[in-house]
């Protein structure tokens, strides 16, 4: 379990993500939001299939999301356009959002 989780964090943590390093900026990953925090989507990092499925569910750059449940491991639940949607931990790292102010 822990090993598995470490694997996630190493591979998909923004610090180690080879796609586009984005530390020191106002961008965070969706999976970094804490319960109750709100943020707007900036972009996705993933294939067209992933982006298409997210967009159909209303995840579009500029859309505001609210983190409903994030225990730091396992899947998360976000509220998007009035509906709760569960996302895997990895999916939550593939969505970049602006850093919430609160």
């Amino acid at each position: 379990m822990t090993n598995n989780n470490r694997f996630w964090q190493n591979r998909f943590h923004p610090r180690n993500n080879p796609i586009e390093p984005d530390y020191n900026s106002n961008i965070v990953r969706l999976g970094q939001l804490e319960n109750g925090q709100k943020a707007k989507i900036i972009d996705f990092q993933g294939g067209p299939g992933f982006i298409s499925r997210m967009a159909i569910l209303g995840f579009i750059p500029g859309t505001e999301l609210e983190m409903i449940q994030n225990y730091g491991r396992g899947p998360i639940i976000v509220s998007v356009r009035g509906t709760h949607v569960a996302l895997g931990r990895r999916e939550s790292w593939h969505i970049r959002v602006n850093k919430p102010t609160s």
Binding site: M1, N4, F7, G46, P48, G49, F50, I51, S52, R53, M54, A55, I56, L57, G58, I60, P61, G62, T63, I68, Q69, Y71, R73, G74, P75, I77, R81, G82, T83, H84, V85, A86, L87, G88, R90, E91
Partner: protein
């Protein structure tokens, strides 16, 4: 959302469950007789869009385009209005009259917001919008009235509808260019501007279709598409922008930050630890309830109906020839009839599952199990079909269609026969008391756990060595909890029981008859029968596993046709007499290690023929063969290890 409830409410038992032609996805059709009209209803697969991301979406849109129904009823969920409106924005681009059913208006009121259907209707070009509460049968007649109305004036409704196409997305110009390029080059059933839109959305199915139908212009279209690769987000974005405007106009008192009942329940139900405990508790309760409620009925059916009926038929047919008497009493009534006594188990299990599904709990269970399913390279969605497998593996394999990714789907299909179905659990609970006495319950739990441990290990190994840790996206909407609808649950139970009874009436009956014949001919007794000779041929196999009695081997083999056959075959072969107890008779011919070994093999053996057929349909012949060989290997290894292990340890 609520679509199935509407369909069930309207059609009731006048529905037919089949498959979409050439597809494995369930197709429900039904007939409604209403005000002198005979309306054919087709329940299209539930989807979020009409883009070819999944098989359901392809089926839904191909049906709409090819069959051109007289009208489409789309059910919007008032509680999650924006999401359900997305499908509507796609539908209004198709030349088919639409009627909108606005469901869960009661929930909307509870949450303190209201939706003005007149505003929605006006914004949709006077498309009828009917508020309904599907679970209470409210507004469904009006829905039918509206559907009849629009189907009779298709041209009028269509021209109105087209006025409101949300086409203000920034790539309208390119869409026009593509439209002019493909004009007249594609099958007439496809509206050209719709094709252009789907090309811009990157729809794989439409792209390859255009490539084939218009090869000469494809190059120039492709150039345009490459230049506008990012169009998909724009199109989806403009649809949602349109939806937002619509919702802002039609919704009064939009929801505030109130904590709903769903949120409060989910504090526990989706909590990583509490949710897991709850899931374990609920599963335990389901099995406890199922077997506590069903077992007395099963015994009663067996002892007070089937056995007396067999005896009665024997005496009633006293003058009939030997073969007729034996066939009816031993073959049909005791063989196939005994299997029907399992129906109460299935009834209670499917009632519990139907209830959990209908209130929305199974989604939470999937969410909680996601972390554990990741060990096997699967995600939460695979949990739901696997859980259903405790009832019967066939709906479980059919149920894997909710997993979008083929790799994950195949793995779930390969693992699902390892979930012990009621058939197998019935066999071991039938034999365990005589086999193990007071430790029967421990043995049953041990055998069920063995299956689950093997399932998990196989999944983890596959993930590690074959799929090498590849994972698939887990994206799942979490619906609001809602009050269960007895009719939906009732139909879920009914459809599953009908399937089971059909099998008992066909394949199991056939096996019972063949078994009876093989075990009585030539000569009229078992000792000299064809079956006995075949059984003796297989004796060396049985010896390796510790059973000297060839009848056990035959019983195991017939479980390939249906797991419950083990019991019916044994009862035919051991010829239950009035005095003797079948399970006790069998127990006396086996030592303790071989009893456990036999039951372990029984639990892990090749799936029944119905399951094998389902695997072949869903995953193809290759995977079916692999699955059979794999389970053959696993079951015999496990049986041999248990038998020899216990024997070497000196267990008697």
């Amino acid at each position: 959302m609520g679509k199935s409830t509407v369909f069930n409410m309207l059609t009731g038992l006048n529905q037919h469950v089949g498959n979409w032609p050439g597809k494995t996805i369930e197709q429900k059709t039904g007939v409604v007789n209403y005000k002198g009209y005979k309306i054919d209803l087709v329940d299209l697969p539930g989807t979020y869009s009409l883009t070819a991301n999944s098989l359901e979406e392809r089926i839904a849109r191909n049906y709409l385009l090819k069959n051109r129904p007289d009208a489409v009823i789309i059910i919007l969920n008032a509680a999650t209005l924006e999401h359900s409106l997305y499908l509507l924005t796609e539908l209004i681009n198709l030349p088919i009259p639409i009627v909108v059913g606005l469901n869960m208006m009661d929930v909307a009121k509870q949450q303190g917001f209201q939706i003005e259907e007149n505003v929605l209707s006006a914004a949709l070009g006077d498309t009828p919008v009917i508020p309904i509460v599907a679970s209470h049968n409210q507004g469904l007649n009006k829905l039918l009235d509206a559907a009849i109305e629009v189907s009779q004036h298709p041209n009028q409704t269509l021209s109105q509808k087209y006025r409101i196409t949300p086409s203000d997305y920034p790539h309208q110009e390119i869409q026009k260019q593509i439209t002019s390029k493909i004009q007249g080059k594609l099958p007439a059933i496809y509206p050209t501007d719709w094709i252009a839109l789907k090309l811009l959305e990157g729809d794989s199915e439409i792209t390859s279709m255009v490539k084939e139908s218009a090869p000469e212009t494809w190059k120039s279209i492709e150039m345009l598409l490459i230049d506008h690769e990012d169009t998909f987000l724009d199109i989806a974005g403009s649809r949602y922008a349109w939806i937002e405007r619509l919702v802002r106009a039609a919704m009064t008192n939009p929801r505030k930050g109130t904590i709903s009942l769903t949120d409060r329940l989910d504090k526990i139900a989706t909590h990583p630890f509490a949710g897991l405990l709850l899931l374990i508790g609920i599963s335990g309760a389901v099995f406890w309830l199922t077997y506590t409620l069903a077992n007395p009925i099963v015994y009663w059916l067996g002892n007070s109906i089937i056995s007396p009926l067999a005896l009665w038929s024997k005496s009633a047919l006293g003058n009939a020839p030997f073969w007729l008497q034996g066939l009816i009493s031993d073959g049909i009534i005791n063989g196939a009839g005994m299997v029907l006594t399992f129906l109460p188990i299935l009834f209670f299990f499917f009632a519990a599952m139907g209830f959990l599904e209908d209130i929305g709990y199974l989604t939470r269970a999937a969410y909680v199990m996601d972390r554990f399913m990741h060990w096997m390279g699967l995600h939460g969605r695979s949990f739901m079909p696997l859980f259903l497998g405790f009832g019967c593996n066939v709906p479980s394999i059919m149920g894997t269609r909710i997993i979008e990714d083929r790799r994950a789907r195949i793995l779930t299909i390969m693992l699902s026969p390892l979930v012990p179905c009621t058939g197998r659990i019935a066999v071991i609970t039938f034999l365990a008391p005589a086999f193990f006495g007071k430790s029967a319950l421990i043995a049953v739990w041990g055998l069920v756990s063995l299956n689950l441990v093997i399932l998990a290990s196989l999944g983890i190994l596959t993930n590690k060595f074959i799929y090498k840790g590849k994972r698939t996206a887990f994206i799942m909407e979490i619906p609001l909890y809602h009050v269960p609808n007895p009719r939906t649950i009732g139909l879920f139970i009914w459809n599953n029981l009908v399937e089971f009874t059909k099998r008992a009436g066909t394949i199991i009956l056939l096996v019972a008859i063949v078994m009876w014949w093989l075990s009585n001919y030539p000569g009229g007794n078992i000792e000299n029968s064809i079956l006995a000779q075949f059984g003796h041929q297989l004796a060396p196999l049985g010896h390796c596993l510790g059973w000297q009695d060839w009848r056990i081997t035959i019983a195991l083999l017939t479980s390939f046709l249906a797991k419950e056959n083990t019991i019916s075959t044994l009862s035919v072969l051991y010829k239950i007499e009035e005095s003797g107890n079948l399970a006790a008779n069998i127990a006396s011919s086996l030592t303790m290690p071989s009893r456990l070994g036999f039951l372990a093999i029984q639990m892990l053996f090749i799936p029944c023929v119905a399951t094998v057929a389902a695997i072949r349909k869903e995953a193809g012949t290759k995977w079916m063969v692999i699955n059979i060989l794999l389970l053959l290997f696993i079951s015999f290894s496990a049986g041999a290890i248990i038998y020899w292990g216990l024997t070497l340890l000196g267990v008697k």
